[in-house]
Each structure stands twice: as structure tokens, then as C-alpha cells.
């Protein structure tokens, strides 16, 4: 399953809830304010690092760039554009947006 999180982990518990239930082999795409979770030095880093072997994590780079965070991306996070976003949705049997 592809999980999509669009809220900052500091404002909202969507990322926590998503990671709590996501199964091994899932993918997580961070979009909109959700991209802040993918940035180095933040307290969300540990959560993502722990999730990473089991869950493939992606971030939408247009949203990172819009927020001036494009140079602060955590290692191991794969960057995609909107075309890549479409590909991710196509590649996974189902998709869930954590709203």
C-alpha cells in the first residue's frame, strides 16, 4: 500500500498514526507540509529512520523546494516529482491518504 502524509509531524499526528499501522513493504510519500518530516536535524528524523528498513519513504521535491528545505533532506529519502507521484500510485495496489 502507498501511504500519503501531508501534514507536518510537529502539528499533527498523521505521520505517527500512519507509521503505527503501516506494514512492512509499504511505501510512504510525504507531500505538502508532510515534507518537513523528511528534513535533517528535526526530531521526526528518528521516527523515519526506524521506519525505513521496512517502509520505503519518498518526498515530493516540489513541496520541499517551495518550502526552502531542498538542501536539508534526510539520507535514504527518495525524491519524486508529480510524475513520480503518479508512478507510485500506479505501482501500489492501493493508496491511502492520511488526512
Amino acid at each position: 500500500m502507498l501511504h500519503i502524509v501531508n501534514k507536518s509531524p510537529f502539528e499533527n499526528s498523521s505521520l505517527d498514526s500512519c507509521l503505527r499501522v503501516a506494514s512492512k513493504g509499504a511505501a510512504l510519500l510525504l507531500i505538502e507540509d508532510g515534507v518537513y518530516a523528511a528534513t535533517k536535524g528535526s526530531s521526526a528524523v528518528e521516527k523515519l529512520k526506524q521506519a525505513m528498513p521496512g517502509v520505503s519513504i519518498y518526498a515530493l521535491w516540489p513541496d520541499l523546494e517551495a518550502r526552502g528545505m531542498q538542501d536539508a533532506v534526510l539520507e535514504g529519502i527518495k525524491l519524486v516529482d508529480y510524475g513520480g507521484f503518479v508512478d507510485l500510485v500506479a505501482e501500489h495496489a492501493s493508496v491511502q491518504s492520511w488526512l
Partner: protein, 119 residues
């Protein structure tokens, strides 16, 4: 692949409708089909022809209308949500139509993937 989209928030206040539009645009560029874009909750506010955003910023409503015109994308506004929020035939932007919640379920059945954009 055939994608159904659901947009749960209105223009400008949330990024949801922008993300949905850019996703749809990328999908069409890749040769995929958009089965339907279904607007629910405050998403129905994407369908009013009365918006007049600043000239130097994107015109969200017109962008959707243009996508409907150029690519035949079906833009459906939920009647119950629309009635609550004052979106009616008389102020509906081009390319949008008002219909029932069944259209969302139908799109979920018919599409290969249904993607929800919201808060």
C-alpha cells in the same frame, strides 16, 4: 491506468486542490486517464465561478475548468455538500456538474486507483 480523484478542500485555504490538479496534469501527460474528479466537503468551493484571485497568482477554478475543456475530465460536485455551502447551478463554473455521492462510489468501482486529496 484510470485514476479517480477526490478533492476534500476548497481553493487557496488548503494545498489539496493544487496537489490534486498537479497530480491530474502529470497523470494526463503520462498518458493515463482521469475517470473523474469528485469534489466533497469544502472541495465544492472549487466550483464557483465567482472567485477573483489576485492577477499574479494561479486561478484555481479556471485551471480546473480548462482541464475539463481540454481533456474532457469529468468534474463532479456533490449536491449535498454544495447545497450546504451555496454552490448551485447559477454560480457553477464551466466544466463542473452537480450530482450525487453515488458518482464518487462509482468512480471508486471503475477506476484502477482512487486518490484522496484533503486536509
Amino acid at each position: 491506468m484510470k485514476f479517480g480523484l477526490m478533492v476534500n478542500e476548497g481553493p487557496y485555504t488548503h494545498q489539496a486542490t493544487d496537489t490534486a490538479y498537479l497530480f491530474a496534469k502529470a497523470a494526463l501527460e503520462k498518458g493515463h486517464k482521469i475517470d473523474r474528479v469528485f469534489f466533497y466537503h469544502d472541495g465544492v468551493n472549487n466550483a464557483t465561478r465567482l472567485t477573483e484571485p489576485p492577477q499574479d497568482d494561479r486561478h484555481i477554478v479556471n485551471r480546473w475548468s480548462k482541464m475539463a475543456e481540454e481533456h474532457g475530465v469529468d468534474l463532479v460536485v456533490c449536491i449535498a455538500a454544495a447545497m450546504r455551502r451555496g454552490i448551485r447551478e447559477e454560480n457553477l463554473a464551466p466544466g463542473f456538474r452537480i450530482s450525487g455521492l453515488g458518482q464518487l462510489v462509482e468512480s471508486g468501482i471503475r477506476s484502477d486507483r482512487l486518490v484522496v486529496f484533503g486536509d
